[in-house]
């Protein structure tokens, strides 16, 4: 009986990452004990949890700020990324002009230009949204382009031979076939947008998790710093899970959604 419960837990998708996290935390604590790592270099997990609880009201408030900026950047990534990808996918001219430039722009380190966003857009939420957008934009474009380019030609030819209109072909064949790839891009994008928002906050901000990280850094408050990082990762995981959820509704027929395996649950 005991064994079967354990087995069930071990086989359930939701429990596995939690078990892994628990294992990692134990290893973390053990490493601190065995190698005698002093708390000013790496904090003990228990101290991190303590700070997480003590500072929760403040952390929660700052988390919301960072989440807004993340969602703003992610929204812009979709708003600009998908139409641009469509143009690239459907026009060789646009592709040859724009795509290389896009790759070029992606290689510019955002940390280096982020201070300029503050100069251009001030200390409000806009520079953070833009930083989140710049990090989240590229994966959306690339995977959407790939999605639309890998639509089966035969299917389109068949539909055309049956006198389907361009819109019908797009809605019935191209878009559904591109969606799995688009969602893959969106998932990468949303986690990167979190990073972007924090980069923006690091550079200039009175609030947000990036701001908390700066304060914690200045005071050698490593437990608070790790607590903030934990929350940040959780925000990433939750946003990822939400995109995953939307994906399940939109493409329930796809191979990645057919079994109950999920990357997040």
């Amino acid at each position: 009986m005991q064994v079967s419960i354990w087995r069930r837990v071990l086989y359930s998708a939701w429990a596995r990452p939690i078990l892994l996290i628990a294992l990692l935390i134990v290893l973390w604590q053990l490493a601190i004990w065995i190698f005698r790592i002093p708390p000013y270099l790496i904090p003990a997990p228990f101290d991190v949890v303590k700070q997480l609880v003590n500072e929760w009201p403040k952390l929660w408030r700052e988390t919301l700020v960072t989440t807004y900026a993340t969602l703003g950047g992610f929204g812009l990534s979709i708003l600009f990324g998908i139409p641009m990808a469509l143009m690239i996918a459907y026009s060789r001219t646009v592709e040859s002009f724009v795509y290389p430039l896009l790759v070029f722009s992606q290689s510019v380190p955002k940390v280096a230009i982020a201070p300029l966003f503050v100069v251009w857009f001030g200390f409000g939420i806009i520079p953070k949204v833009i930083a989140a957008f710049l990090l989240g934009f590229f994966p959306v474009v690339v995977s959407t382009v790939v999605g639309f380019k890998s639509v089966e030609r035969d299917m389109i030819d068949l539909a055309r031979s049956m006198k389907a209109s361009k819109l019908q072909i797009f809605m019935r064949i191209s878009l559904p076939q591109a969606l799995p790839s688009i969602f893959a891009g969106l998932k990468v994008s949303v986690t990167l947008a979190v990073v972007g928002a924090v980069v923006g906050e690091f550079v200039g901000s009175n609030s947000g998790i990036g701001y908390v990280l700066q304060i914690a850094n200045g005071n050698f408050d490593l437990p608070l710093m790790f607590a903030a990082l934990t929350i940040l990762s959780l925000v990433g995981v939750i946003l990822f899970a939400l995109v995953d959820l939307v994906e399940r509704f939109m493409i329930p027929w796809h191979a990645s959604q057919r079994n109950d395996f999920s990357a997040t649950a």
């Binding site: 270099l41 201070p115 200390f123 550079v203 200039g204 701001y211 200045g218 050698f220």
Partner: protein, 327 residues
């Protein structure tokens, strides 16, 4: 992110930063920041062979903030650190095994500054203005004390926060009227960027007495190699004395080693400003690096009251510095 870099450094290299090379002790001095005029004396000493003569092969590394320098010294990644002593005290009170063996800046270089044409010359002028700060850094933590001493309130002015570069950008682009900075660092950088004069209001002129940069070392290293520390400090003190006498030569040496670290004319001004901070209020006749007890006591008291230092673990000033290894 900076912290993670320090961790990587600390985890990767737990070797003590010393190895015998051609009979000389190879010493890494990790600065608090990218090179600027404040660091010129070390480059002068290296160029003129003061460290060589003491049997020290000196390697000067630029830093990324005092906090990281303190951690690197605590972990043994760098032999000596040139860092903000109050920052070191905070780390030491949390268990970092480091101590200050010489305090270079004994009068605080902290100030709130803006372009002279804005006519902000005394604390009352700050009212209604916008001040740029960096959250969590030593200046932003001393700022409330300055406000209290000058009778200003948080609501009297607007505050914006950003990293070191953003602070400068904000003032240059008029998003802020003032920033918190060092008289020989940010003031010079603002002038170099705009060619416009800058007026700093010094914290020290309004009763904020706090030491600043100093030379720090790991306690275990100090115990194991007291002679090396003594020789290093002898050379460092000599370098500083020479730089006071000849700021142009110090700046030349710095610019030769690090051509991008400044512009000669303003860096010389910065070096002179630095030299004026070598003496504390309580020891006008001491040689550089030797700090007064009253000065350190006051620094610690301020840290407990304003700097977020826990009174229970703060201890006393003697726990954090010693003059015993100075010549």
């Amino acid at each position: 992110m900076k912290r993670i870099f320090a961790l990587a450094m600390a985890a990767g290299l737990c070797l003590p930063g010393v190895a015998m090379a051609q009979g000389k002790d190879k010493i890494v001095l990790l600065l608090n920041w990218y090179t600027y005029s404040e660091h010129a004396p070390f480059y002068l000493g290296k160029e003129r062979g003061y460290f060589d003569q003491e049997g020290i092969d000196l390697d000067i590394q630029e830093g990324r903030g005092s906090g990281i320098t303190v951690q690197a010294v605590a972990a043994g990644t760098a032999t000596f650190g040139y860092a903000d002593v109050p920052t070191m005290i905070k780390a030491a009170s949390k268990g970092a095994p480091v101590t200050a063996v010489g305090v270079a800046l004994q009068t605080s270089p902290m100030s709130v500054m803006g372009f002279s044409d804005k006519n902000i010359r005394k604390p009352e002028d700050i009212k209604g203005k916008t001040v740029a700060i960096t959250p969590g850094d030593s200046m932003s933590q001393t700022w409330p004390l300055f406000l209290k001493k000058t009778g200003l309130k948080e609501g009297d002015f607007k505050q914006v926060a950003g990293d070191a570069q953003t602070k400068l950008n904000a003032v240059i682009n008029s998003q802020a009227d003032l920033l918190l900075g060092y008289v020989m660092d940010q003031a010079i950088k603002l002038q170099d960027a705009t060619k416009k004069p800058v007026t700093p209001i010094r914290f020290a002129d309004y009763g904020v007495n706090m030491v600043s940069s100093g030379i720090i070392v790991q306690k275990d290293y100090l115990k194991a190699h007291p002679e090396v520390v003594k020789r290093f400090l002898k050379a460092a003190q000599r370098s500083m004395e020479e730089a006071v006498k000849n700021p142009e030569a110090a700046v030349d040496a710095m610019l030769k080693a690090q051509p991008k670290s400044g512009v000669k004319e303003t860096a010389v001004v910065g070096m002179k400003e630095t030299a004026s901070l070598y003496k504390g209020p309580d020891n006008p006749n001491d040689k550089p690096l030797r700090v007064g007890k009253k000065n350190m006591d006051e620094t610690l008291a301020l840290l407990v009251e304003y700097g977020g230092l826990d009174k229970a673990t703060a201890g006393k000033a003697d726990d954090y510095y010693t003059n015993a290894y100075l010549p």
